[in-house]
């Protein structure tokens, strides 16, 4: 951010470096229930981002002094794998990961019915396997699907998207080049049903009009992503149904044979 742009990020046709229009998202696919040891899990591929989210709990919070007698504590941990970026990242939590973990925890706490589970902890682990700008929102999107998969009661699934300013133009869903050489980046997440904002940050500067344009674009994109989240859950459900049907079939066959004998 703030670096002098040497590459032209938007060409004369108004297309971006990866051929997208200014308000176009990168391709997104979500898969639910990929880890069998976790209570709930999800995997998201968002352009070049590949993120796994796993949810455990509600379970007894340890150490005991972290327990809250009136509600559950949501511990999200955002972690980038050492191999997730071009140059090896030193493993372990750094200043950036600690901050992102905190804001994701707070965003999720706003949607989970935490008061139903006093003295417990809900652990959310977000592992970034491959990073290509916008990982905090990708992680948060995957985490809320994983929470739904874990059966944790919540108001709605959080969805979000980032917008930013590149070559003096407000664009949706920045990729790595745009994030590095652009002028601003605004990650944004909301509760789709009510429109309540649960995460909003800004890196760089935008005028008021530009900011409002960015939010408007992100909101539209978040509604679209919210539908993808629902579809991902439905897909897992229909697969489970199919498996159950195939399981029952041989049973029916056997009883038929018995009757024949």
């Amino acid at each position: 951010m703030g670096m002098v742009s040497e590459v032209k990020l938007i060409d004369e046709n108004g297309l971006r470096i990866d051929g997208r229009k200014f308000n176009e998202l990168r391709p997104i696919s979500i898969e639910v229930g990929i880890l069998n040891r976790a209570d709930g899990s999800a995997y998201i591929e968002w352009g070049g981002n590949k993120v796994i989210a796993a949810v455990y709990g509600p379970r007894e919070a340890f150490p005991k002094h972290t327990q809250n007698p009136s509600k559950a504590v949501v511990n999200a941990r955002y972690n980038m794998a050492a191999f997730s970026v071009d140059e090896r990242k030193r493993p372990g939590p750094d200043r950036r990961a600690t901050e992102i973990s905190k804001i994701i925890s707070e965003a999720l706490e706003a949607t989970i019915f935490v008061e139903q589970f006093p003295r417990t902890a809900i652990d959310v682990y977000i592992e970034v396997l491959q990073a290509d700008a916008g990982t905090r929102i990708a992680g948060l999107t995957a985490a809320s699907v994983a929470l739904a998969d874990a059966g944790i009661p919540m108001r709605d699934m959080i969805a979000g998207c980032a917008a930013g300013k590149v070559d003096g133009k407000v664009v949706l869903d920045l990729n790595k080049e745009e994030d590095n050489y652009g002028q601003a980046d605004v990650p944004f997440a909301l509760i789709p049903r009510t429109g309540e904002v649960v995460l909003l940050q800004m890196d760089g500067n935008l005028t008021r009009a530009e900011f409002e344009e960015a939010i408007e674009m992100s909101t539209k994109a978040a509604m679209f992503i919210s539908n993808l989240q629902r579809e991902a859950l439905m897909t897992k459900y229909s697969r489970a149904e199919e498996r159950e049907e195939t399981k029952e079939e041989p049973k029916n066959g056997n009883s038929g044979e018995d009757a024949h004998e």
């Binding site: 340890f62 009661p153 919540m154 108001r155 009510t194 989240q229 629902r230 439905m234």
Partner: protein, 187 residues
């Protein structure tokens, strides 16, 4: 039956009362879980039952698992199934057995009564922080063991386990139901 996801509109507060897995906001009822929606017309209640409610081990449950690690005096069991009220559930967790809880009397080494990769049936005795199991009851213990030399299944002969390929006898804390993997339980 209809599958619903969190935040989905289910009905209005004039019609129904939000039951399990549902909540009311501003006179409207929404789902708070992903699961099957059912309407209880008698009590005017809307319930959402999540398909897979995670099951947690409680004291008194039985667990079937595989020995994955022996680190004296602790034995680590990777549990696969949990039995509660005669019903079997899939349950994946890392559970522990202390050497003092294997035979009911003093045992200097856990590996005298249990070997790697044995399948055991055990009872949960504590769930505080970690899940502790006990093999002290006669029906608990190894339900399927493998020869430590050739890895072929062992047969129960009298009170010991015998490998007919190596013609060796091995000692285990065996369950009284050795070899009965399907215990007549329903899923």
């Amino acid at each position: 039956m209809k599958y619903v996801v969190p935040g989905q509109f289910l009905g209005t507060a004039e019609e129904y009362i939000p039951g399990e897995g549902a909540y009311e906001d501003n006179g409207r009822i929404f789902s708070s879980c992903a699961g099957d929606m059912s309407v209880d017309e008698k009590n005017y209640r809307i319930n959402v039952l999540s398909k897979e409610k995670p099951i947690h081990a409680e004291v008194g449950d039985e667990i079937i698992g595989v020995i994955s690690e022996i680190n004296e005096p602790i034995v680590v069991v990777m549990s696969e199934y949990l039995i509660r009220n005669g019903e079997i559930h899939e349950y994946h967790d890392r559970t522990l057995i202390h050497a003092s809880r294997i035979t009911g009397h003093f045992l200097d080494q856990a590996s005298r009564a249990i070997k790697m990769r044995d399948v055991v049936k055990a009872r949960v005795v504590s769930t505080r922080g970690k899940i502790d199991l006990s093999l002290e009851r006669p029906e608990d213990g190894v339900i399927y063991g493998f020869c430590s030399r050739c890895r072929k299944p062992l047969e129960k002969v009298n009170n010991a386990l015998y490998c007919k390929y190596c013609q060796r006898t091995e000692m285990r804390k065996t369950s009284s139901k050795y070899g009965e993997i399907s215990l007549g339980l329903k899923r």
